[in-house]
Amino acid sequence: MSTELAHGASLVPAVDVQGLWTVYGGGNSPEFVVHKDLDLSVAQGEILSLVGGSGTGKTTLLRQILGLETPRKGQITVMGQALSETDPRTSASRVGMLFQQGALFSAFSVLDNIGFALREVGHLPLDLIRDAALTKLQMVGLEVKHANKMPADLSGGMIKRVALARALIMDPPLLLLDEPTAGLDPEGADDFCKLLRSLHCELGLTVIMVTHDLDTLLELSTRIAVLADQRVVVVGTPREVIATPHPFIAHYFGGGRGQRAMVLLDEPVQGATARHA
């Protein structure tokens, strides 16, 4: 782990955002500036959480990293490549996205959903795709018996897991998560966090996530980026962020929920040392 990190310093950042401007409206309606000269750099192998009040453009930023929306101004590079230069056909092997509602294709079975990107390639044999999809299905902790179910027959937690398996089918180095634990019961959210953590270790993923769940935030993040005042106010480890004097941060982490979740901050450290031993 430590050698990887030392090595990681020389690698290109997984995502690099420079001078980003996002403006909604224009024309007849008044313009509304969401991001103003926003800079953000995500190193390979880290789990970065985006935090901010509603309307600060967290999900918009994710969508811009994915290329689903184009910013007014600014440069976004993913794995050292500018978005405009990348080939859309290979995007499934560059970046995986877990949408908030899962966004599973409702017409396909679970297995077909997971293997969809491989099937679209066109020339890979079907049994290889089936085996690869089954492997990913079991890697996200689902049993083989669910493989032929339709998305409509799945519970919320299972939908998230299948969507995660689908996002990971081509082993992308970068994984984006939009509210990964929203809509899950506390136990399901805990399990999903554990799964994300183990996948992050096994596959060496870079993860960027948007979350409002303080438990998830403090349990998983190696760094937190706070979006406020149309830019990234502070990026740093959870402790550094909480120590930063800013009205939003004080409000966000200082509330009752924040205080309760803060207990978690001590636990991951112990967990991490246990893993190193």
Binding site: S106, L118, L128, I169, M170
Partner: protein, 391 residues
């Protein structure tokens, strides 16, 4: 097999990092010949068709050859799950006797080996299951009929309720639906009606000319358009346009749990959702039908003037004599029924949508197909029942 020249082997090793395409080479190591994986064995590389074909061409032939010779995975530039999966399936889901891997590659291969399962045998339906599925189909049809009759009965009750307290009726809804089903349908029905009128008149003119029966084009167009084609055209267009919209609207309300929210608030869906739509379409349908008929007659009149030289004045004067007014009454009467049926079928399928998007698409298709079929069947019934009237 002859041993490759060691010098060539080292030179190709030197150039290996430049070349990402996944491939296998037989090379001599310290312990004899071995299969070396070279290039990037990742999904992104395997997804490229030329790389894939090249790999297939260079793949060692038999499984015995694969297992007897040592494998060197560490020489690969990168390997991910898809690459490992490919190797594992080509190894015949067995470990080779001699395998050289890094710890990360070993855990990757072990994970793939652990999770790869034999496929389930394909299920074949037995005769008994087919018999049961036939029964299922019949029961499904019966349940559709049953809930449609319920809907019809509920509509009758709701209409009685509306008549007893008209001031408490959902009049805003009704007028909104009237606008959406009626007013906004005028341009498209006019366009289609006009073109059909022109085509019909032009084709009939070719035939009538041969018999010198030019003047009868007024009778031909008048009866066919007023009695049959005008109402049918309008009904089919409205079924495609408004029937699908009704199903989709109510279906989306089901998917987003709006229907449940209404029920919790104690708002009857029959009175607030079904009746306004049925009433609005029952009013709008005859009006659209008359409008379509008029525009189609106009199209026919224009074409008759051009093709046969029959003046619009003559056309208008001859029309009342040619077409009995009972035809118009009949047309208006049956389009009221069409409108009611289209709205009810739309609501029926909308209310049966299950809370998922696929079911919404299926329901909308079923709604349009059913309402067009039902409209044609009911039209045939009208034609038989009123065969002595107006002709």
């Amino acid at each position: 097999m002859s041993n490759p020249n060691p010098e060539i082997a080292t030179s190709s090793l030197a150039c290996a990092p430049d070349d990402d395409s996944p491939r296998i080479e037989r090379r001599d190591g310290s312990g004899g010949p071995a299969w070396w994986l070279l290039g990037r064995w990742t999904a992104a590389e395997l997804a490229k068709a030329p790389q894939w074909r090249a790999l297939q061409a260079t793949w060692p032939d038999t499984t015995t050859a694969i297992n007897a010779t040592p494998w060197n995975v560490t020489s690969a530039g990168a390997i991910d799950h898809v690459g490992a999966q490919l190797l594992w399936s080509r190894w015949g889901q067995r470990w080779p006797q001699h395998l050289e891997t890094s710890p990360a590659q070993q855990s990757l291969l072990e994970r793939v080996a652990r999770f790869t399962r034999a496929p389930d045998p394909p299920k074949t339906a037995t005769l008994w299951q087919r018999y049961l599925s036939l029964g299922d189909g019949v029961l499904g049809l019966l349940s559709h009929l049953y809930s449609f009759v319920l809907l019809l009965g509920q509509l009758a009750l709701d209409l009685v309720r509306l008549l007893r307290a008209p001031w408490r009726g959902p009049w805003r809804d009704i007028s909104g639906h009237l606008f959406h089903f009626g007013t906004t349908a005028l341009p498209i029905t006019a366009l289609v009606g006009f073109l059909i009128g022109v085509v019909l008149a032009y084709l009939s003119a070719q035939q009538l000319k041969q018999f010198g029966a030019d003047a009868f084009i007024v009778n031909l167009l008048g009866v066919s358009l007023v009695r049959e084609l005008g109402p049918m055209l309008a009904a089919i267009l409205v079924a495609g346009r408004s029937g699908s919209a009704i199903t989709a609207q109510i279906g989306v309300m089901r998917v987003t749990e709006e229907l449940d929210a209404m029920r919790v608030m104690g708002i009857p869906k029959g009175f607030r959702l079904v009746m306004p739509r049925a009433l609005a379409l029952a009013i709008a349908m005859p009006l659209i039908s008359v409008w379509t008929t008029l525009v189609a007659l106009l199209g026919g009149m224009v074409a008759a003037d051009i093709a046969l030289g029959i003046s619009p004045t003559f056309f208008v004067q001859a029309l009342p004599a040619a077409v009995d007014v009972a035809n118009l009454t009949l047309a208006v009467g049956k389009t009221v029924v069409f409108g009611l049926l289209i709205a009810l079928i739309g609501c029926h399928f909308g209310l049966r949508v299950e809370p998922n998007t696929e079911s919404l698409g299926k329901g909308t298709t079923a709604s349009v197909v059913t309402s067009i079929t039902v409209v044609i069947i009911v039209d045939a019934l009208f034609a038989i029942a009123f065969k002595d009237i107006g002709v």
